[in-house]
Symmetry: D2
Subunit: 243 residues, 4 copies
């Protein structure tokens, strides 16, 4: 029998590569979808290192063109059996501007990235899970999904939409045996982008370690069907928790 | 000095006409934006009846084409002074389908209707309010803004997005003196559509009366700046309240 | 026919006296319950000034001895007809300490003040409202009802409990025609205690004016039964809004 | 070096015995606190079976007499080293009555059971965790902590208070290295009481299996300090999810 497959959309050098490694360590095949093979190189290498005999492949997909996510997901279906896990880990740029400075293009992009792209993947991959009454779909999200912002409004609009999608799916398909979970990261992650952003002010202990987060995704995967979490929050012990 | 103006986008025969009447009763000019003058006929007549000397006009605008909302709002600015209130009262069809049956077109439409259209209006009308450090923007929303659904998923995606937009705006512009409020109607409204839908099972006391709702919008308008509500919930006394 | 009566428990010189004035202005009799007549002097004077022919009386009641609230409420029933409004406006001291420094006595006191005292009043006054299918019960609360605190933990425990009580009552008795509402003040109030506390750092525009808040209570009173708010939030336009 | 110790307060034949087994399987000593050794017999036997060389003991403690919880916790401290986990798993009777039928005694009891008893245990056991910058405190809770009820109001008042306590503690002591988590069970558990209650209508798949829940507690224990959940929700795949 073939190995189980985990599909990660948005498999870059941040949380993506940690997720790739964590599932590969459990002998999952990794199907990695992102805008460029180069961007997923770390994720792919981690997978190959952790599960040498696995079938780990990169597929082109760009959430800004949701139809490319559809196509990538379809290729994944043609390439793999036993697709057990879909992780949607895409995120838009974290662009600070006040709401009135948002452009219509900003609104369109964030919606494609957070909602339409996610739905494109779900639309292709969920029916097979329902058929087998088994499967896990995990959305990487943030506190921005629960609270708007005067300085980072675009991100909130995207994440609110993603959370709505996640709840919709959970309410419709949990009973069919598919576990859908929205993971709210209430913190900054320890990823290259954040280290660069904070520069000298970066403090490792004030961020979530991506491998620790990936471990939590693994536990969500393991949750037995009598005790599922549909919404998960994660924050480091240092975080000032306001929501 | 010219009369104050209230702009209502989505001024149909449901809540829209009641809002039109309520603000006209207080001697507001009414600028009504909707897809057809015919659809806004009741709202226009109510305005004319309640404030005879008011300047009550209809402007074409269809949230499915957000640029038409932009244009309508611009015409409103050219036509009126003292624009004090913007009410975004548009809503999409309440189409029951399971999430996997949503189309990409559904996703695009609901986002335009609930988020992009609203933002289009805000983008034109808010700067003038900020300049005068005065103004009220009210979004008609629903419990679907807080909770997903397995049977009515499209609506939730739209309303979550609208709530994000509302919170973003409130957090950015309250300090500038503009009051932004998201009104969650946790119930069915007593409007022709709902009466038709429920047929014999319609029970008036299980719905919110649109004039009672409009009165609440009026109180939001009146709220002094030291005691604003940015999120308001309304439900009839009969409602089983689960969120 | 006799005038309507508003019962205010916790009628001091802060929000209490403003509520007293606001309802007296509408020709309500005021029944004021507090620990001392001296403490309610301002509230009583406001009532007498605003409604000269009203029957305005003080009754002794101390939430730390809930049975005294019961007795006071019983005297109110014997003294007045048409008791239409009950406002529970008591609050404990805002004592900053870390959770481990809370004493068992702190826990007992805050529960009496926020929950048992409120229930004592409700137990006496609600049945008459149910009988007449009419009445309003308003609880003065705070954001502490929704969010714990590492520095002011006692207050949160009390307010969470008060909110639970309020929701319980709303769910049980709305259908009987009694409107129960929990008012979350997401801010400091402009009251003597706060002015003293902040000293030179006090900024009027960063607080809610008690008369503006009282006006909002009045609107809650006016809400028609097809469009009630069971939870109301209020904050000044200057407030940084995090929950 | 001595084994780690897990303290369970409310170690009966429901979730308690499953938690006892799960931590014993990981070679934890179990300190079980409950009203009677007989009531904790199953929990004690599970511990002995799963970790034969462990030091598993029962201590008398009744949350209705919080001082007995204090005493039990003090005995636990004198008896064990390495107290790493405290699970507060007590709950009151699930008594259905409308709010007006609550007695003052009901209010007093539920507060002792849910809040004062929990705090009593925390007050004794948390300082040692802070000193070692290590430890986990888990509160068994329910959706009643987030939503009032017209038919089961006592329970909600207790659980709201417990959640406040949990958030207070998390906000004050996470930075000290102690992980505090509130587990919301959004469902019925498969325990003898529930089976008896539902009788013929009991459906196993509509409840959470206690061993599955205990496994989730174990994962909370394992969560690394860069990625903690302070609030966890659990429900079976069959649950109609309304909050």
């Amino acid at each position: 029998m073939s190995h189980k497959t985990c599909v990660i959309i948005g498999a870059g050098e941040g949380l993506g590569h940690a997720l790739s490694r964590r599932f590969a360590e459990e002998n999952f095949n990794l199907a990695l979808i992102s805008r460029s093979k180069e961007g997923s190189r770390a994720a792919l290498e981690e997978a190959q290192k952790s599960f040498k005999d696995g079938k780990h492949l990169h597929f082109f997909g760009d959430a800004l063109q949701p139809e490319s996510i559809t196509e990538a997901a379809q290729k994944v279906i043609e390439t793999y059996e036993n697709i057990e896990v879909l992780i949607y880990n895409v995120r838009g740029g974290y662009e600070l501007k006040e709401p009135l400075d948002m452009t219509f293009s900003d609104l369109e992009s964030i919606y494609k990235i957070e909602v339409v792209g996610a739905f494109a993947a779900v639309k292709v991959l969920l029916p097979g899970m329902i058929e087998k009454k088994q499967g896990k779909i995990i959305f990487s999200s943030a506190t921005a999904a629960l609270r708007g912002s005067g300085t980072n409004p675009i991100y909130a609009i995207g994440k609110f939409g993603l959370r709505a999608l996640s709840q919709n799916l959970a309410k419709a398909y949990s009973k069919k045996g598919v576990h859908i979970s929205h993971v709210r990261l209430d913190c900054a992650l320890d990823v290259p982008l954040i280290r660069e952003w904070y520069g000298k002010n970066f403090k490792e202990e004030e961020t979530a370690n991506v491998h620790d987060v990936a471990q939590n995704y693994w536990w969500i995967y393991l949750q037995p069907k009598s005790a599922w979490s549909n919404e998960v929050e994660l924050r480091p012990f240092t975080e000032d928790w306001t929501f």
